[in-house]
Symmetry: C2
Amino acid sequence: MLETIDLSQKLGKPQYKRIMKDLTLRAAELQRKAREAKIPVMIVFEGWDAAGKGTMINRCILALDPRGFNVNPTNAPNDDERHRPFLWRFWTKSPEKGRIAIFDRSWYGRVLVERVDKLIDKDDWRRAYDEINQFERQLADDGTVIVKFFLHISKAEQKKRFKNLLGEKSTRWKVTKDDLKRHKQYEKYRKAIEGMLEKTSTSWAPWTVIPSHDRRFATVKVFSTIIEAIEPALDRPAAKSPAHKRVILPKMGKSFLDKIDTSLSLERKQYDKLIDSCQKRVNRLEYEIFLRRIPVVIVYEGWDAAGKGGNIRRLTQGLDPRGYEVSPIAAPNDVEKAHHYLWRFWVKMPKAGHITIFDRSWYGRVLVERVEGFCRDDEWKRAYREINEMEEQWNNFGAVIVKFWLHIDAEEQLRRFKDRQKTAYKKWKITDEDWRNREKWDQYKEAVDEMLFRTSTSYAPWTVVEANCKLYARVKALKTVVERLEERL
Amino acid sequence: MLETIDLSQKLGKPQYKRIMKDLTLRAAELQRKAREAKIPVMIVFEGWDAAGKGTMINRCILALDPRGFNVNPTNAPNDDERHRPFLWRFWTKSPEKGRIAIFDRSWYGRVLVERVDKLIDKDDWRRAYDEINQFERQLADDGTVIVKFFLHISKAEQKKRFKNLLGEKSTRWKVTKDDLKRHKQYEKYRKAIEGMLEKTSTSWAPWTVIPSHDRRFATVKVFSTIIEAIEPALDRPAAKSPAHKRVILPKMGKSFLDKIDTSLSLERKQYDKLIDSCQKRVNRLEYEIFLRRIPVVIVYEGWDAAGKGGNIRRLTQGLDPRGYEVSPIAAPNDVEKAHHYLWRFWVKMPKAGHITIFDRSWYGRVLVERVEGFCRDDEWKRAYREINEMEEQWNNFGAVIVKFWLHIDAEEQLRRFKDRQKTAYKKWKITDEDWRNREKWDQYKEAVDEMLFRTSTSYAPWTVVEANCKLYARVKALKTVVERLEERL
């Protein structure tokens, strides 16, 4: 594959100067336009050691307005990064709408150095192709322009460059032992690089191999590729505005929610005994998962007033606050809105050994955002797959994922709303929005049904909790957590 | 000091239940009110091992709405944290307006474990008292309520608790070797704790020592202290709204800016030679400071159109993009506005070994925010001291701080504005705001004069750069960077 690349291409200095003057102005103008159009751009630089990544990145950023980009150097992962899936640190660095994120090396380290140096199993790097393609597709679907460069030089050229650098006292420090070791492994790396180019060149994020023997030729190629990638994105018709009308759904047959036995209940005495023993077990399990470095994600979804807060409290009462975090999900803030909707959940993914409890979650996309028209139809429809992919990636990393739908029937909700209104210290809990949501009960019900159907997976199953009786619901949820954790340990 | 604490205080169960029912409701209500009033709250838990910090924190958070707080456990610093001043990781975690940040251990580790275990020099922990008091005072001045608890138990009680835990199989794991080691050092720790209580009990952030032999007594004491700390903050009259009127200043004598010789200039030929040699030196220095782990902060301030962008570009042309970052400072976003104005600059502080170039900076507080009335008078007046303290703390950590004021005269600015307007590819650079700012030239001049006077320190001096001639200005700035770095190495 790489053999077909013509490395002899060159460009003379006068021609280069002339071309670059034009390309530099165009790149700067495109950056301004992309910012106005709120298009996020990701530019990835991979390449052989000494192929000139640093120089090339500096040339790019000197042409750009520094207010609009970030350069992300990729080193060996730090503690925080090692304790999360490998894509976590790149999700967290995905650019805001209108900004450019430049990556000096990237997530492709997974299928290059980590593969060649056998830092991970064969299964891991093979699966990484899929995970990377999913990552890039999700961002591209959300409007991100992704440009990926591989700066290519031959083994002989690399040798020559190392020799030149080593020959001069002032540049000797630039060549490390690792560089020389990798030089010897050129053929092994070539195989890995070709695998990478083959498996991860997609329509939404194609690779461009840059013949880099001649710096001038390479620079022109890089600039023109970036320009060619961004320009069409500017011409794309603006995404349709949110559909604020009622969404008509294909009926999915009898509602799953109707089949739930909401009469299940528990007596106080039994409850006290059960909750106490579960809390003790979960406290012990918290320590076990910490020792074993297992991340745990617990999701609470459910009808308004279904008792999520109280239920979560019974779970956390038994826990050490150093090991868990409750993450309540409200409407996204400015910064969150400027990213892919899954960004803020990736950011909050627990470290290995820790528990994050989400009070509402990414499922808002296919519940409230869908029903209220806060996102477009194509966006929430795409979300089922995106969510499954995210959960699968977390599961691949070893996470336990527990998801609860707290179910009450409409009559019980009404009773609770009224109770909140007349009890002084509960009054703040009930808002006009709750009443408005209640009017859309049937629409929400359809959305819940479809969510349960499309996102119940072997690695992240839903547990529907019958919640008309709060005591029953608390014990069931807590027992489920205990069982899922014990199953894993 | 600790000896005077009465550790025998107890509370019976029925009384406890009665009191706590009331306190819990009041705490929850106060949290809601504090959120509405946008008051940030910091609660610090320090204490002997086995004094019950975990239990106490869990009791607090179970009473609170999880949408409004974060628990921050404090472990040994990770890589990112070690490469910054010790307060960096606590600055970054200071709560947003209206939120509660709970710290399970805290910045006081600096004067406790790090002191006792001799992880740092005597100079370091002694200086830490000042740095901590500054940190807390800056946040308190900005409206943050700070509550600090020390959970106190006697050596005998600690011994008893460890024994009990070790006696049962299910709790044995809770006692670590470090715990037992620290138990033996009880007296050493007591000395450090008393030093801490003495040096860092301030009117803006007082310590409360909690006798913790009896859990019930301790819980009631913690809850009532928190309530007593937050309640008066709610009653405080709201801060006066921004002063949108012209600020009348005391004249500072002849303007320093008038004395600057703007006629200084450089010829192209000389410039080419000088800039080239400076760039080579700075490239080499970038690597040296990386090896020596020195953080470098470079600040560019100056009149509109003074040439900051072009000047920064000449500096970065010689640099490896992996070692530096340009941080352009615009108006703060939502999240930034919800914090102390220095928060976003602490967050961006470079890692040891890296360079951050600020294109505008925290000096906006005493320039644009002052002149345009974006903050209150007491806020910008306080800022000089806050800024000096921040820069001193960074300097204490080993940072090199270089600050430029790029100075052009009013005629030169006008010439450049007009030039921008008539040149197609420069037109986007000039906005109505630039023209409006120009009309306030004299007000800005006074603000600049006062800034240069009040924030020129031995550890972070200003360099005024005569910038009517761009070539001269670029060489002068670059040479200054080279000299300041060489001076340090």
